[in-house]
């Protein structure tokens, strides 16, 4: 594999198997490790080797030779070399560790799509073990901490699938309805089902008013009590609606300006998270979901080498809700 040595616009040293500089910000498929002197990024959807972005080259020299080879470690900016990892087994472990960190945050748990949530205790065990295997990548006093304590889970409710807005105006004329998904980058994991069908909306004309009702399917394993600062909002064609947790769904409704047409856009998100650049990539989410389904199927078929413990447990979960 050929790799390129570049300098990005901020002066960081880049080692990449791809043409051109890496994206400024990671997307939902990026598995990232914070290592001595920089970070390593894989795409969970690709078999390509990692991209390194290094802000402290001296510190990173403790591992570049192991991950990319001696030639890459001493190569000048602008040059191209053959990757020749001195410790290929470390590269494999590092990719798994990055993947485990990815799974802890981006695993698209969904009741609708039959993707069970990962068990956080098992995932913490995977992370701890892999962190030890990758210790060469971290400076002596800064091994990226696997979450040290596993939060105690409160009681959770098995939420029924909301077939549509479960509350809201019963009477009136339905002008339009639809379903949509969420941009995962705009909401923390564990709140809303990751499916593209998780959010339902309905615009109704009632007593000379145009009203929209929104309902979102909770993520599998959502506790019965969620701190108020984590209650998502829905933006419907510019109107901000705070959602609340009803018995089996996140719900909210609001009057819309009379001029609102039947076509609306519904965007469920958590206020307070940084706004990502550009709209979410639905096709990318679909690929991630397909990737996860394929992994779960392969685990069930016994053909996936080295699944995470948490994945194996999830694959054994009954998904016929």
């Amino acid at each position: 594999m050929v790799i390129r040595i570049l300098r990005d616009e901020h002066g960081a040293h880049v080692i990449t198997p791809h043409d051109g500089p890496p994206p400024e910000m990671p997307d939902v498929d990026a598995a990232v490790l914070d290592v001595a002197g920089g970070h390593l990024t894989w795409s969970v959807l690709s078999d390509a080797g990692p991209v390194a972005v290094i802000d402290d080259l001296d510190a990173a020299q403790s591992w570049i030779w192991a991950v990319y080879g001696e030639a890459a470690a001493v190569a000048d900016t602008g040059s191209t070399v053959d990757a020749d990892p001195a410790l290929p087994e470390l590269v494999v472990a590092a990719a798994r560790l990055a993947y485990a960190h990815w799974a802890a945050r981006w695993w698209p748990a969904s009741t609708i799509d039959a993707i069970p949530a990962l068990d956080e205790t098992l995932l913490a065990e995977d992370l701890a073990e892999l962190t030890t295997e990758c210790e060469l990548l971290f400076a002596a006093d800064e091994a990226e901490e696997a979450p040290a304590t596993v939060p105690a889970r409160g009681p959770s409710t098995a939420y029924a699938l909301a077939a549509g807005p479960s509350t809201g105006p019963d009477n009136g004329i339905v002008l339009s309805r639809g379903t949509t998904g969420t941009d995962w980058r705009r909401i923390p994991p564990g709140l809303v089902d990751a499916s593209e069908q998780a959010v339902s909306w309905q615009v109704t004309r009632i007593a000379a008013q145009t009203v929209v009702a929104v309902s979102a399917v909770p993520a599998p394993g959502l506790p019965t009590a969620v701190p108020a600062h984590l209650w998502p909002h829905a933006t419907v064609t510019g109107e901000d609606i705070a959602l609340r947790l009803a018995e089996d769904a996140w719900i909210g409704d609001s009057a819309l300006p009379p001029s609102t047409g039947p076509e609306v856009t519904v965007d469920v998100h958590l206020p307070g998270l940084a706004a990502p650049s550009g709209p979410g990539d639905r096709a990318l989410r679909t690929r991630v979901r397909a990737f996860v389904h394929a992994r779960l199927d392969a685990i069930r078929a016994g053909t996936l080498p080295d699944p995470l413990r948490a994945e194996t447990a999830a694959a054994a979960t009954e998904t016929d809700y």
Partner: protein, 430 residues
């Protein structure tokens, strides 16, 4: 300019390490020496880069590589014995059910010492040696305990006497401004990082009493240190407009701001974080010294440590986690680390808007707008720990210290965001 061919130092070490026999206990999963083996054993005790400068740095020349190989090969037997002792330490530690401290941190150097002085551990006698060493390292608090501190300050007469002493020293503080503008020197020190020698700059700052100057300025002066009308408050060192006399205190809970912490809190932290409490002064002396220290500039006794605090202020006020660049080499290095963190936070779904509307998100995000507060709180705690033990900061340690504080602040922020965004966490202190 033609440059001599260079090789990664870590790779050279790995290659010679693979030749050694019996060093598994000091090796990582891929057979390379553990990061702590390099940091705590190879660098300070075997390679000693100060004596062998061409063996230092991330890349070494052929000559440096040859010398490095020679040094490590020559130490092969001692390293194997060190590994033998370490394996024994771990086994006996398990049997004694000791769990505190990181075994590599605590035992590596002791193992090297035993390997050098005793040699190969004898199965029977070695175990007794290790048991004794462990008992000494873990039990020998020699009365320097939190219980002793609690008992000492629980006596109402003693607490009242301490409060009176604090008040008296506080009123008697020398608040005379130290003349001189140290800004250029502070800038020069920060521009020497990460690889230059800050020594000349720090020595001149110490001679000019720049640490005392900034510490006294924090007691009262408006707009001191470029930190607004209430500098000590703006810097996160006190919740008051100007620092007030600290109280004796009787429990470990209390203010987070360094200058507001009680004497109890300050000593408590030292006792909790000390690996070798037996080397501390007795509790009564610790308390008496703290009463003096608390009324000194920066609440630190050693001028060189106060100078580090002044350097820290200059660095901290220029940190821009949400932007890029920076005024000095040190600022650029730490800000680059923050930029890396911004990427990691995005990749972990942990990136907060600059001003979220709901607590605790507002508070957590707000720390990035004023990064100097968390920075200086952590820096002060580390300097205080050194002050109590009578340790200074060596020039070669200064960048590690300043950079290490930045790293802690960054990881602490990441952890706080993670907790604030966790659905499952039962809500803690906010």
């Amino acid at each position: 300019m033609p440059t001599a061919p260079q090789r990664p130092r870590a790779l050279v070490i790995h290659e010679v390490w693979r030749e050694l026999r019996g060093v598994q206990a000091l090796s990582g999963p891929q057979g390379a020496p553990l990061s702590r083996t390099v940091k705590l054993i190879l660098d300070p005790l075997v390679i000693r880069p100060v004596q062998h400068p061409h063996c230092a740095g991330p890349l070494v020349t052929a000559e440096g590589a040859a010398r490095l190989t020679e040094l490590i090969r020559a130490a092969g037997a001692v390293l194997a014995d060190t590994a033998g002792w370490f394996a024994l330490f771990k086994r006996v530690r398990r049997l004694m059910r000791i769990t505190d401290g990181h075994p590599q941190d605590r035992y590596f150097q002791r193992c090297f010492e035993l390997a050098t002085t005793v040699g190969t551990p004898d199965p029977a006698a070695g175990r007794a040696t290790v048991e004794e060493a462990l008992r000494e390292m873990h039990d020998a608090s020699e009365g320097r305990t939190v219980e002793a501190l609690k008992a000492h300050l629980a006596d109402p007469d003693r607490a009242a006497e301490l409060a009176a002493r604090l008040k008296k020293s506080w009123v008697a503080r020398d608040e005379t401004p130290v003349p001189g503008d140290h800004d250029d020197l502070l800038t020069a020190v920060l521009d020497a990082f990460p690889s230059g020698d800050p020594g000349p700059g720090t020595r001149r700052l110490t001679a000019a009493r720049a640490g005392t100057a900034s510490g006294r300025a924090l007691w009262a002066v408006r707009d001191a240190l470029g930190a607004g009308p209430h500098p000590a408050r703006e810097l996160g060192l006190t919740a008051h407009d100007v620092p007030v006399v600290p109280s004796p205190g009787a429990s470990s809970s209390g203010p987070a701001e360094p200058f507001d912490r009680t004497v109890y809190q300050r000593i408590f932290t030292v006792l909790r974080t000390s690996a070798d409490r037996a080397e501390l002064p007795p509790v009564a002396e610790l308390v008496a010294a703290e009463a003096v220290r608390a009324c000194e500039p920066w609440a630190l006794s050693d001028e060189t440590l106060r100078v580090v605090a002044a350097v820290g202020v200059r660095l901290a006020l220029g940190l821009r986690p949400l932007e890029t660049g920076g005024e000095t080499a040190a600022h650029r290095a730490v800000n680059a680390r923050w930029r890396r963190e911004a990427y990691v936070l995005r990749a972990r779904r942990l990136s907060l808007a600059p001003e979220p509307a709901a607590e605790p998100l507002t508070r957590v995000a707000g720390e990035l707008a004023r990064p100097w507060r968390a920075y200086l709180r952590r820096l002060w705690a580390r300097l205080h720990g050194r002050d109590v033990r009578g340790l200074g900061v060596h020039d070669t340690e200064l960048w590690d210290l300043l950079d290490g504080v930045a790293r802690s602040v960054i990881l602490d922020h990441r952890d706080q965001v993670r907790r604030a965004l966790s659905v499952h966490e039962t809500s803690p202190a906010w």
